[in-house]
Symmetry: C2
Subunit: 582 residues, 2 copies
């Protein structure tokens, strides 16, 4: 990326300020600046000019603010995040994250591109112009994520070749098709070669793979992995030259475990990321400031931790203009009360105050969402599509395993009517579930059975179903399910809870059926209400996360059994199986 | 630089080898591989495919060599070197350096470009194709180095804009015009902006500057400095985001001093370089292997030292394809007997054995030098040009201070004839010296007086005179000086020693008057003979380095008084002064 490009005129002013010949635009007086290069802390002022840092020392500014001896750190970088997982727009994620000290995120718009294709990416880029947060976008590398479901778009090697060189594309997003890389398929290698040809990085995703297969993946020159969950996995990847993104999201909590493997020798190859972080987590626990708190709790030196959130990330992703408080660097500075709780006092972005004591300061204007609205399109849909016409009452069911997104395949005997249709027994916790294709008017609907969800009344439907984001619905009968799906389509996607033909709660997500155009606080409240009513009014089990459980029910790479719009899928065999058991 | 670009076909083979599906081109069995990422040493084989490293572990190869348990390190990188200072061609520098484990050099062809302009650079690039050593070239940023002498070429911002984006240009060479940067001159900033606009680095050179002036230089985004001679200077630059190149050349020995400032916290920002290294030093002391030996002698951990010679340099200069022994990296590997003396056993470059037990293995063919030959052109030259027509016998003399290149300005009374011409007194160690312009047929000749050189007979002339490389001549009378200059011109430059109209020793340097087309060993022997005869036959003082002293006599940035083709120059006043003292 040509992100060091500074015009001659801007450079001239910067140099004049640095040399003390003219006053700075802004000076933060009285800082203790953390120097990520030397590990030392120096007392003095920070001078900004034209959005960049001119110098640290004794400076005068047209505007001056007093840091009162607080620590000044470089702005924090989240090295891998899907904005869509926060259910809010890029403008709103900026408003949520900046007060926590985050000034740059490396975002992979994988979800919206699965729904809207490149116009989804274009919307995300445009929306991000409305926030002080610097949102760098990766081009999603694997859309669809698997060939086992219908997505809204296909991003093949040809499209990647055409787009990856664009200035607003930082690199290629997490390369989830690791079997493709390890086996050297033409399509996978063409995508990687296209990125390399224009000097862009390729981000990785390789859970569980070890040994020579891992070497094969690393040999393709893939820069990073955020899927380590053990120190052994981390070391194996790091030794092969991959940067390690230590993840702390809403669902995945790898950070504390992986910190046990961070040493003075290897820490420069370690970064911090959240991957998926819901508004609730951001509001109550924070963002990268939360990661730093955990790092120090686990015994890491605070400056080493800050490097993981700044310099190391900048190095990994070729962002030479940031990651340090030093002359010529972007004016992204976080003032911290101390280096233990990492309480963020003020945040400066490009030399301007952007947040103070938890409040985001710039006015929030949002870009038009028409291009990504109305993403839920049904074809010939009615409850007739839920008919299964089963030839056996011994069926494969998806058994929910509480506390995660892994499922178990079980065989159960159910009751059928004379047409081979399911008759639900309220005494048995088995219900029908369906995936309704919503992108391409295929009319595809696939049905299966869910065990352990606990639902006793009504239905729940959502348009968030990784990674293709078709509609997933669960209900006590076909009519309830039909009503839920139709209501969801009418509101343009999101989440709907219905009972006896009434909507009892709903969260419209007009942006691609994935994101709200409202605030993070609104989303948080809605999700709280949905969780409450899912349990209280639909009777969904207390030990099941009612939304997240369904969001990952279609993801045909997570064991053991999933349902997509194309049918019931056995992940361990990597093949579709009939609902009827053998 | 797009130096990660690997074709799909090459990637496919690499992955197949890494995964163990097909045998490697070459396997080094039984290594102890130094992992620069983790700091650990792992036992196993190194597999190469298509010139790259496929994997480390248990591999089979079409060809196999046994490392017998030796350490395997990444190929060493010299982060800043002027090939011209070794007086040999790029082909020959490769032959000299590779057996010492050096596989990449970052070369600034500043000297030849001062003489030949861009055709000098083109020759250097072409010549480097004939060596296994990977020579990366920087585009010289400051030609001429000062406006106080005539060089063979001017590389202005316009030329830099045109060339810096070329694929065979790594970045912009050491920005010696630090006053230009600090003062923000249009020309200096235009050059830097041109490099930044195409994503290239700008190397630095900023001796002695501190405080806000240093911040101004760093604010321009200059990547590195190799001119630190104290730990304080090093820390000040490092904290401003500049990489520090710890220098150990033939003349400048900063390494041991600076190592006292290298810590676990800052070492990732430290690199190794030689800057100027003569064949004698290379042959007798080595190259980066010598730096590593010194690092360990000074108490540095060997893996940290190796990182300075590998990963850190690769990071500083955006060479993502090298600096580690890991899958996907260039097949540049050095086998070391141990990690103390750093005795180099074998060197592999791009997966091929390139040196063994001190011998360079590839056949050496050299490229045509016609484009850079015949660089010494005189205009209307005769000894009449040495006439000074002085109006006073009180003159400013250049006093040589032994052991360095700094001089002192002194006033002496000399004897003059009736025409105001110098009459040498053999009892007094003051002789005439002259600089003869050799590039542009200006006919310029400037004369001055040298004290403390000791010459008692004949003359010495050379075409190496930093940075414009005009002819510098010293002799006991005008006729001897004339003969020396004419002989030098006839041989196309180099060094000549004459006495009583006879050449007593000479070293032709046909390549731009700076480099020999012969071997490093030949150059070493010639320089030894020249030094010997300079003392024995011309009587030059034993405490003066007869060649180097003159090489820097024209460099109008080193205090206190210098002589260029334009006249006598007082560096402390930054102005020309008359030979006659006030």
């Amino acid at each position: 990326m040509k992100n060091q490009m500074v015009s001659k005129e801007k450079m001239k002013k910067l140099i004049d300020v640095a040399a003390g010949r003219i006053p700075a635009d802004l000076v933060i007086k009285n800082c203790r600046t953390i120097n990520v290069f030397s590990g030392k802390i120096s007392e003095g002022d920070i001078a900004f000019a034209g959005g960049l840092i001119a110098g640290i020392g004794d400076y005068e500014g047209i505007e001056e603010v007093d840091a009162e001896g607080r620590y000044a750190a470089p702005g924090f970088i989240d090295s891998h995040i899907h904005i869509e997982s926060s259910y809010v727009s890029p403008e709103e994620i900026g408003r949520l994250l900046v007060p926590h000290g985050t000034t740059t995120i490396m975002a992979d718009p994988h979800e919206i591109v699965n729904v809207c294709g490149i116009s989804g990416l274009e919307y995300m880029i445009k929306a991000a112009e409305n926030t002080a947060l610097d949102v760098k976008y990766e081009l999603p590398s694997c859309v669809p994520a698997t060939p086992f479901e219908h997505s809204g778009a296909i991003i093949d090697a040809g499209i990647i070749e055409k787009l990856v060189g664009n200035d607003n594309i930082a690199g290629l997003g997490e390369f989830m098709d690791f079997p493709g890389v390890i086996n050297g398929t033409d399509e996978a290698l063409a995508k990687i070669a296209a990125a390399k040809a224009v000097g862009k990085f390729v981000d990785g995703h390789i859970p569980g793979v070890t040994g020579k297969a891992l070497s094969a993946y690393a040999a393709a020159g893939i820069a990073a992995d955020h899927e380590c969950s053990t120190v052994e996995e981390m070391n194996e990847r790091l030794e092969r030259g991959m940067y390690i993104l230590l993840r702390q999201g809403s669902a995945c909590h790898d950070l504390r475990t992986l910190l046990q493997g961070v040493t003075g020798e290897n820490s420069r190859r370690c970064l911090l990321c959240s991957d998926d972080r819901q508004p609730r987590t951001i509001i109550h626990e924070g963002h990268i400031d939360n990661h730093l708190r955990i790092c120090v709790e686990e015994g890491l030196d605070p400056v080493t931790a800050i490097r993981m959130a700044t310099l190391n990330a900048a190095e990994c992703f070729d962002m030479k203009d940031r990651g340090a408080v030093a002359p010529g660097y972007r004016g992204d500075v976080v003032l911290l009360d101390e280096l233990k709780d990492f309480n963020v006092n003020r945040v400066f972005i490009e030399g301007k105050l952007a947040a103070e004591e938890g409040r985001y300061l710039p006015a929030v204007s949002k870009c038009d969402i028409n291009a990504v609205k109305g993403s839920v399109t049904l074809k010939d849909f009615s409850k007739d599509k839920f008919k299964m016409n089963l030839s056996s009452n011994r069926v494969n069911v998806i058994k929910i395993l509480p506390g995660g997104v892994v499922t178990a395949k079980e065989i159960e005997e159910i009751q059928l009517d004379e047409e081979g249709e399911f008759i639900r027994n309220p005494q048995v916790d088995i219900v029908k579930t369906a995936v309704v294709e919503r992108h391409k008017e295929t009319g595809n609907v696939a049905c299966g059975f869910l065990k352990g969800y606990g639902i006793k009344d009504g239905a729940i439907a959502l348009s968030i179903a990784h990674d293709s984001h078709n509609i997933i619905v669960v209900g006590v009968d076909d009519s309830e399910m039909e009503f839920a799906v139709k209501t969801l389509a009418d509101q343009g996607g999101g989440i709907v809870l219905t009972r006896e033909g009434e909507v009892i709660e709903n969260m419209p997500l007009p942006i691609a059926g994935l994101m709200s155009d409202r605030s993070g606080e609104w989303v948080e409240q809605k999700l709280t209400d949905i969780h409450f009513k899912a349990k209280e009014q639909l009777g969904i089990s207390g030990d099941v996360e009612p939304v997240m459980t369904l969001c990952f029910m279609s993801l045909a790479v997570i064991p053991e059994i999933k349902l997509t719009d194309m049918g019931l899928f056995d992940v361990t065999q990597m093949s579709f199986i009939p609902v009827e058991a053998e």
